[in-house]
């Protein structure tokens, strides 16, 4: 059995490279937005640029995927890689978008000074951990690693819901504090969700099923 580079492989490799670039970019973008929430710095311009870049790269991945399908009629693992790459690129672009949404909230509410920083620090730490684990799963295609993300996602979910419940009962917060924290927490929760979706796509790429 000889293996040789097929014409399709050139296209697949190009697509994989763009995905890796998107991973780096998404990591930077999300970290920056979380830092902004913690320190209150004005990074929204940078985050906005990066988010747009991510969207552009997603369009590139989609175009490339369609081109490969039209030209090569890929099947089996090739087809799954292409489908997953489209989905993962979309999820990565969403990460950028939510990061951008976070800095927008900070913009609205005076640099985030009013946000419940300890809570947000706790939540964002979990989310960043989840995101990094998801990216590691993508780089290594290790489906077992992806399983850890289920538990982490549950933890993030309960943190988020718990906080919302607490908000209603807590009279001590100002409206600004409550709204900004709630919004940022929601965006963080969505970032966690998309990190989970990426892991699901990795499972599909490798095994053919979404069940991790």
């Amino acid at each position: 059995m000889s293996s040789y580079a097929r014409p399709l492989d050139v296209g697949l490799n190009a697509m994989a490279e763009v995905l890796l670039e998107m991973v780096d970019l998404a990591e930077r973008t999300v970290s920056a937005s979380i830092e902004a929430a913690a320190e209150g710095g004005k990074l929204d311009a940078q985050v906005r640029i990066w988010s747009t870049e991510l969207q552009g790269k997603y369009d590139d991945v989609e175009d490339k995927a369609v081109e490969l399908i039209a030209r090569y009629q890929p099947v089996a693992s090739d087809l799954r890689v292409i489908k997953s790459s489209m989905k993962i690129a979309y999820d990565l672009a969403r990460l950028g978008r939510y990061a951008y949404d976070i800095v927008q909230v900070l913009d609205l509410v005076n640099g985030g000074k009013a946000a419940d920083k300890p809570f947000l620090e706790k939540m964002s730490k979990k989310v960043l951990e989840m995101m990094r684990l998801s990216f590691e799963t993508l780089r290594t295609r290790d489906v077992q690693m992806a399983r850890k993300l289920i538990e982490m996602d549950n933890e993030v979910d309960s943190l988020y819901r718990g906080y919302l419940k607490g908000l209603i009962d807590n009279p001590n917060l100002t409206a600004a504090e409550a709204v900004s924290t709630a919004l940022i927490a929601r965006h963080l929760e969505r970032i966690a969700d998309h990190a989970w979706y990426i892991a699901e796509s990795v499972s599909y790429m490798v095994t053919g099923t979404y069940i991790v």
Binding site: S3, Q73, A76, S77, D78, L79
Partner: protein
């Protein structure tokens, strides 16, 4: 699920010392199109020829195992191969119409079975040519030589000829390899129509064709049945690495 049209158990074929088909167990479902794919020399055509005992005609071929047609073993000693071949028809890679008229080609099979009345033959010929999507093109040329037809028309004539004896199963051995894309498309369309009334088994080296027309796909390699399953599943997530490597073009 109804009984499979054809079922094989421990089917092996030897050509002298060459073990061409190894221990194949396969079920061909009724009224479906089953494709058999695999690299050259993997035994797919040999396997196909087991279903209508055409391997009997090859001098040093030896067949072992069981092939059930509607539950009955066609390789039993008291079975007449010509009877089997009436129920299991075959279309070959290179269209092989007889150097007779279009009408006589289609009427050949029924005449073999003793049908000689003109009215009966007329009706059978017409029905077969219609079923093979050829009637409109030849209805004014029934007495012209079949050799004058185009490649695609000749192949459809061969299909009509096979249909004229009213078989249960139609075997197709790379039916489109010698045809251009338009003729191929017509025949693929025809296959889908035929599957409504017959069971179709097609051997093809064109994987895209297998993916396009078949309900189930069987992958063979070096005489063995490596994987067999619904076509959508084989082409999206094959279970076997060999299958995966073959259909993605990493070898073969």
């Amino acid at each position: 699920m109804s009984e499979p049209a054809i079922e094989t158990k421990a089917l092996s074929v030897w050509f002298g010392r060459n073990h061409a088909v190894r221990n194949v167990a396969l079920e061909i479902q009724t009224n479906q199109i089953t494709a058999i794919i695999g690299p050259s020399g993997c035994g797919k055509s040999t396997l196909l020829r087991c279903f209508n005992r055409m391997n009997d005609l090859i001098p040093n071929a030896r067949v072992e195992g069981v092939v059930l047609l509607n539950g009955e073993n066609i390789y039993q000693l008291d079975v007449d191969p010509t009877e089997i071949r009436r129920r299991v028809g075959m279309v070959f890679q290179k269209p092989n119409p007889f150097p007779k008229s279009v009408y006589e080609n289609a009427a050949f099979g029924p005449r073999l079975n003793g049908i000689n009345s003109e009215s009966e033959l007329d009706s059978i010929v017409r029905k077969s040519l219609e079923a093979a999507a050829l009637w409109d093109e030849v209805k004014d040329r029934l007495n012209d030589s079949a050799i004058g037809l185009s490649g695609g028309q000749q192949q459809r004539l061969c299909i009509a000829r096979a249909l004229a004896v009213d078989p249960q199963v139609i075997l197709m051995d790379e039916p489109c390899s010698a045809l251009d894309p338009q003729a191929t498309a017509k025949i693929e369309q025809l296959m889908t129509e035929l599957a409504k009334d017959y069971t179709v088994v097609v051997v093809t080296h064109n994987m895209q064709q297998a993916a396009r027309v078949s309900n189930s796909t069987a992958f063979m390699y070096l005489g063995e049945l490596v994987e067999y399953g619904p076509t959508a599943q084989i082409f999206e997530s094959p279970k076997n690495e060999l299958t995966e490597n073959y259909i993605t073009g990493r070898f073969g």
